[in-house]
Symmetry: C2
Subunit: 339 residues, 2 copies
């Protein structure tokens, strides 16, 4: 397998990217193409020994900064590392592209370089939330701050295909994120999306709230990218707050310290479940190529998980399944103009 990795994406690039690339070669025997400033990457790679020699470098002279406007930067900085990486992907030089760069930039570059799958109005970023029973795929988590009901319907289709083929869920249950379980609850977007999902032929279970989501009552939850992003970041932040507060109180006395030591396996199990670097990266579904976007804060472990997530999608033919699944549902996915 060959994975293309943006070496200039994470906040601390290119360290995490380089380390993860070498580790991926070591672990999976993959070929990794690192895209970024060659003069920066080469010497650092060479210092890492024989496995690093199997990492290819493709030069990209420009880097997308957080301050770059996504919409224009894809064109203006045509030689940015995402653009170069996605062009390689389009040319078939690799099977998936992984970046920890900014979401807006990745979306803009992907639309410009790869285009959308036929029938898709807006690509969506999907991530897995840990639940009581396993995972729930939530989309969109940030690619589209403003959405139309039709987009959410399409997200539901793409999320279902992902859950079915990558997570192996039979007939995935689809929930609509709302501020109340009852039908009729929600903002205007939710209220207009509900009937579309009802008649979609998908396994729609109605509105869901945080409780149902984290209980594992749904396999796929759809929402607009603004709400999904707020939910994701809020959940991550409250998790960090809980873990940190607990740590602090556990270190407060010799008694609780000893308790913490004995209880270590329980904490390790919890950490494994909640750690965002276990999820690694979110697929940008609906573009014509496998693009995975990781956290800007990714360290080497998170970048490796991102590569692992991309490999998994390649293994499950996610792109082909998405294209075929959407194609099969084309009439249902197009909603009349009035919406």
């Amino acid at each position: 397998m060959r994975i293309i990795v943006d070496a200039m994406g994470s906040d601390r690039h290119p360290g995490p990217e380089i380390q993860a690339a070498v580790e991926a070669v070591r672990l999976f025997g993959d070929e990794i193409i690192l895209v970024g400033k060659e003069d920066v990457l080469r010497p650092r790679l060479e210092a890492l020994g024989p496995d690093a020699a199997k990492v290819q470098v493709v030069h990209a002279p420009e880097v997308l900064a957080m301050t770059d406007k996504p919409a224009t930067s894809a064109r203006r900085k045509a030689q940015n590392s995402m653009a170069v990486g996605m062009t390689l992907l389009k040319e078939g030089r690799g099977e998936a592209f992984v970046t920890a760069g900014n979401t807006g930039g990745a979306m803009a570059n992907a639309l410009f370089r790869l285009g959308r799958l036929r029938g898709v109005k807006r690509p969506a970023l999907a991530t897995r939330f840990p639940t009581r029973k396993g995972f729930c795929v939530v989309l969109d988590i940030g690619a589209n701050a403003e959405c139309k009901p039709e987009y959410l319907l399409q997200f539901a289709v793409m999320g279902s295909i992902y859950a079915a083929h990558v997570l192996g869920v039979q007939n995935p249950r689809v929930g609509l994120l709302s501020n109340g379980e009852e039908a009729g609850k929600g903002n205007d977007l939710v209220k207009a999306t509900y009937p579309l999902l009802e008649k979609s032929g998908l396994n729609f279970i109605g509105n869901v709230e945080g409780k149902e989501l984290f209980n594992g009552d749904a396999d796929v939850v759809v929402t607009d990218g603004f709400t999904g992003n707020v939910l994701l970041k809020g959940s991550e932040a409250v998790t960090t707050l809980i873990i940190d507060t607990l740590k602090e109180h556990l270190m407060a006395s010799p008694r609780t310290k000893l308790g913490a030591l004995l209880a270590k396996p329980a904490f390790a199990a919890l950490k494994g479940m909640l750690d965002p670097s276990e999820t690694g990266a979110a697929p940008l579904m609906g573009v014509n190529g496998l693009v995975f976007i990781g956290h800007g804060r990714s360290d080497a472990r998170a970048m490796l998980s991102a590569i692992r997530a991309a490999r998994q999608a390649v293994d499950h033919d996610l792109l082909e399944k998405l294209a075929a699944g959407i194609e099969a549902r084309l009439p249902m996915m197009q909603v009349s103009r009035s919406l």
Copy 2:
């Protein structure tokens, strides 16, 4: 002090309400007026001994169900327990009204019975989120699923007054919930609200995400009621998931069980910080009366916390401070029609 309590609001009414009312008499020496079906309430109160005799009962023959449409039920079920309770509040028979009934119903009844404070377009429901440094007031958490920039500006004013006078925060820092910290990030509502907050004269610190909120970087965070509700319920649900998962793993072996026993003080401290029943109820700010809305799932302890929250607001003259603070900012709070 005299607090009016809806006896028919919580999912398991009237048990939690009756217990909390009797406990409030005992603890605070308050007079409590329980509003609900007299024939149900009287015998249950009488069984509770002498303190219960100090709880007054005012009869309300109707109960708002979760299935009742808020907008029409305030008028159609004119004798529902919320309507009767709020009428008592308006007549000055008590200083605050507490209910664990449904938010939409409370909002509709409050608008119909109490009206709004001068200058307020939409009342908002505010709650306190625990943070690394104390509390953050978040509003709206569910009264208005659809909002305009002007509403969020008004929420910021009300939240600041609450933080200043009830929580004792000097010059409260106001954040705007968004999917990115940078100015310019957000959905259309956030983008249009940002400049209003910038020139509001409030201590606006810009966009905030979950991380800043739970870090305690803001004292007040404003958002629309849909997003706020999703964030609140998501945070609660992930907290429950973490605590439950940890418990389960702690009970998995004798070693971790012993660890849990020793670490008990740390868990107790964490629980105290996160327990929603410690917060009790959310003030519906912007209506002409002190109305507190608790969780439908409230037990007696949560109902007692709700009464405590209402007492605290009475003690701090919240209604008068809101009226005066809004009055002083009237020109700033009215945004031209074009928004």
